[in-house]
Symmetry: C2
Subunit: 411 residues, 2 copies
C-alpha cells in the first residue's frame, strides 16, 4: 500500500548533505522531519534550510538516535563519514526505518554482515545511494546490455579518477573525513561510483557474484607535492607520510569468469573520469572515448563511433522520461534519480533497487582492497552475502528504477 | 671501431619476417647473407626477395644452425615463434653473433636466465626488437618524461588491445603460432608493446626494477563466437576450450613504488589501442584521448589538451630527424627505427639500447603472468636479472637510439 508522504530525517549535513537535503525539499511527496549534525553551525544552517523551504521546523539534534524515536519517521538518509555511516544505518533499521547511505566503503567485513543480518531481521532495506547507477550514459549502456547489444559480457573497467588534492588537503578547514582516511588507510577507499553500475551490468548478486580480488597501491606523492606547493614547505602535510597510494588498482574476478579492473586515482593532477569500459563478445564501450563499437552495427570495422549516435534508439526509458519532465538535481540529474529510487521504494513499501546485499558487497571492496594491499597484493575472497541465494535471485524491484531489467512502461 | 657493412641472417620468414627483411634490404649498410625457414615455400620466397633486391644469392637453409657457421656473419635476427626464438638467440650468441628477436614472451624464467648468462659469457648483446619503444608518440612522451614535465612518475597503464580473432582462428591456414599458444596458455602472452616503453619511462633495470605482479584472466569466449560465426558451428574452434582468457589484467609493482597495469585483450571486437596512460605528480598522458594534461602548462585546469600541441616543442630529436630525412618502414616508421637501433649497434660494436637484461625482464612477464593466473592471481616475484646492478647501472647506449637519455646531437 503506497503512502502519500514520505517522512525523512537526514544525518550529517556537510556540503553533500546540504545538497541532498535541497533535493528532498523540492519533492512534493517528501517531508523532512529532522536533521542531525555534530557541528552546531551546520545543524543550525540545515534546520533553517528545511524551515525556509517547507515552513516546518524540523527536529534538529546532535545525536541521531533522538531522531529515531519519532514514530512518524519512515526513513533515514545519511551522508555521514565513511567510518560512521554503517552504525547509523544499523541503528536506523533497528528502529524500523528504511535507511539509505551516501557512498563510501566499509571498514570491516563484519560491518557488512551486520548490515545484512539487521536488514534481514528487521525487514528494513538498506540502500547505498550510488548515484552513478542512474547516470545518463551508464543507464543507456545498461539498457543496451540488457538488450544484448554487447553480447556476453567479458570484462569491465572503471575508476574514481578525480583530482581531489585540494579537497583532501583542505580537510581540516572543511571538516572533511577524506583527509584522515587518506592519512591512515591504503586501498580503494571509494570504489562504488565505478563498481556499482558494473555490478548491475554483470548481474552481481542475481545470477553472478564477485569471487575474489587483488589490490596494488602505488607510492603516495601527489598530496605532499600539492601541500608543499600550495601551503608551503613548512606545512605538516607537505611531508606527512600519507598511507594511501596515489593510484590503487583492484582486479576482481566474478563467478561467471568476468573480470573487473578498478582504479582509485584522486591524488594526482588529471581531468575527471569514471574510466568506464565494458567489453562483450559483440562490442565495447569506452567512456573516455565517448565511444562505442558494436560488431555488425557500427559502420566501419575496428573504428569507434560516438555513443551519442545510439541515444535516440537506446537511451534508457527512465532518462527519456526525465528529459520530457525536465532534468533536475545534482551531477547532471543522477542525484535526483537515485533519491527518487529510494523515496518511491519507501512510499510503495517495497525493496530498494540497490538492496542490502548490493550495499554490503560493494562496500566490502574497500576493506578487502586494504587487506590485499597490506599483504603484497595477495588475492582475497569476497564474501557471498546472499549465502548462495545469488544463484536464483530475481531482480528485487520490478519497475521504473530497476537496475536489472529495463522497464518500458512509459512508452 | 665501426664497420661499413653489417652482415645479417634472418631466421623465420613469415609475414612479419618478410616485412623486416624488406626493410633490411633497403639499408645500404646491410648485407643479408642468409635466410632460414622450416617451410620450403617461405624459404624460396625469402631467398628470391633477397636476390631480387641485392643481386646476392643468400644461403637458404631449413636449419638455422648452418647459418651460424658463416664466419662473416655479424648478426642474427629472428621473428620466429614465441616458443622457438629464445633457443635461436642462445645459439646465435654462442656462435659469437649479435642477436635480435621479434617480440613475444618467455615460456620459463630459466630461459630468461639462459639468455642473460649466455650474453654475459659471450659478450654478445641480445635485443628484443620492441618497435613501440620507437613509436612517435611514445618517444615524444619519453622526451617529456626525461625533461621532467610529468614530475615524479607514479603509475602507468598499457595494453595490447587489438582484435586478432581472425588472425588467431586462421592460424592453421596461415601457419601462425598464435593459435596454438591461445589454445594452451593463459596469461599475458604478448606484454612488451605496452611494457617496453613504460619500462624505459620508469628506468627499469637502471635505478629501478619490477618487483612483483598479479595476473587475472577473464573467461574465454571471443574466439569461439568468431569461429562459430565465420567458420560455422561444426568447425572445431567453434567450441574448442581455449585456455587464454579474452582479457588478462596484470598489475606490476616497482621498487620505487610505481605501479604498471597491463591488459592483453585480443579476442574481442574492438578498435586497436595500446592503451597507454602515464601519470606523474605534474601531469598525465592518455593515448586513447590523444590527450595530455600538465599542471601549470595546460591552459585550462582539469581539462585535456591534444598532445599534438606539444609536438613542435617536445617531439623526440630522433623523430624530428626522421621527419627531415623522410619517414619510412612499417607501423608508421617505428619498425625502421628499431632495426636501425640494432644495426647501428652492431656496426659500432656497442651494446644495444634494449639489452639482454631488458629483454629477459620484459619477456619474463609472460610466464610469470601464467604462473599468477594459474594460482588464482597470487602475487609472484619478478627476478632481478641484473643481480643488484640495477641500482647503479647507467644508460647502456649513449647517443641516437638511447631510450634512457635524450640525445640532442642533431639540433
Amino acid at each position: 500500500m503506497s503512502k502519500d508522504k514520505v517522512r525523512i530525517a537526514m544525518v550529517g549535513i556537510s556540503g553533500r548533505g546540504s545538497g541532498l537535503l535541497g533535493l528532498l525539499l523540492e519533492m512534493e511527496d517528501v517531508e523532512v522531519l529532522g536533521v542531525c549534525d555534530r557541528y552546531p553551525d551546520r545543524l543550525e544552517k540545515a534546520a533553517k534550510q528545511v524551515q525556509d523551504a517547507s515552513g516546518v521546523v524540523p527536529l534538529a539534534v546532535s545525536d541521531y538516535r533522538r531522531l529515531l524515536e519519532d514514530k512518524n519517521l519512515d526513513a533515514l538518509i545519511t551522508p555521514s563519514s565513511w567510518t560512521s555511516h554503517a552504525q547509523i544505518c544499523l541503528d536506523g533499521m533497528e528502529a524500523g526505518k528504511y535507511v539509505a547511505t551516501e557512498v563510501g566503503g566499509a571498514t570491516s567485513i563484519e560491518q557488512c554482515w551486520s548490515l545484512v543480518r539487521t536488514s534481514e531481521r528487521t525487514g528494513k532495506p538498506c540502500m547505498l545511494l550510488e548515484n552513478c547507477c542512474y547516470g545518463q550514459e551508464e543507464m543507456t549502456v545498461l539498457n543496451m546490455v540488457k538488450k544484448g547489444l554487447f553480447g556476453e559480457l567479458i570484462h569491465a573497467e572503471g575508476g574514481y579518477r578525480h583530482d581531489l588534492r585540494e579537497e583532501v588537503c583542505q580537510g581540516r578547514e572543511n571538516r572533511h573525513y577524506r583527509l584522515e582516511n587518506y592519512m591512515h588507510r591504503n586501498g580503494d577507499v571509494y570504489p562504488t561510483h565505478d563498481l556499482g553500475p558494473i555490478a548491475k551490468y554483470l548481474n552481481v548478486n542475481r545470477g553472478n557474484r564477485m569471487l575474489s580480488l587483488t589490490s596494488t597501491a602505488s607510492k603516495s606523492r601527489g598530496l605532499n607535492v600539492w601541500a608543499k606547493t600550495n601551503k608551503g614547505a613548512d606545512h605538516d602535510l607537505a611531508d606527512y607520510p600519507f598511507a594511501l597510494g596515489d593510484v590503487v588498482t583492484t582486479v576482481i574476478k566474478c563467478a561467471h569468469g568476468e573480470t573487473i579492473t578498478l582504479f582509485h586515482d584522486t591524488s594526482l593532477p588529471r581531468p575527471y573520469s569514471r574510466g568506464n569500459l565494458l567489453q562483450g563478445t559483440k562490442g565495447i564501450w569506452m567512456e573516455d572515448k565517448h565511444g562505442i563499437y558494436l560488431e555488425g552495427l557500427s559502420e566501419k570495422a575496428h573504428t569507434w563511433e560516438d555513443i551519442s549516435k545510439y541515444y535516440e534508439q537506446y537511451e534508457h526509458p527512465l532518462w527519456k522520461r526525465f528529459h520530457q519532465e525536465g532534468v533536475k538535481g545534482g551531477h547532471g540529474g543522477m542525484d535526483w534519480l537515485v533519491l527518487r529510487a529510494f523515496v518511491e521504494s519507501v512510499q510503495k513499501n517495497q525493496q530498494t533497487p540497490v538492496d542490502v546485499y548490493d550495499t554490503a558487497a560493494w562496500m566490502a571492496i574497500t576493506c578487502l582492497s586494504e587487506d590485499s594491499v597490506s599483504m603484497g597484493s595477495m588475492p582475497v575472497a569476497i564474501p557471498d552475502f546472499t549465502e548462495g541465494r545469488w544463484i536464483a535471485r530475481e531482480p528485487v524491484v520490478k519497475g521504473t528504477y530497476c537496475l536489472e531489467e529495463v522497464c518500458e512502461e512509459y512508452f
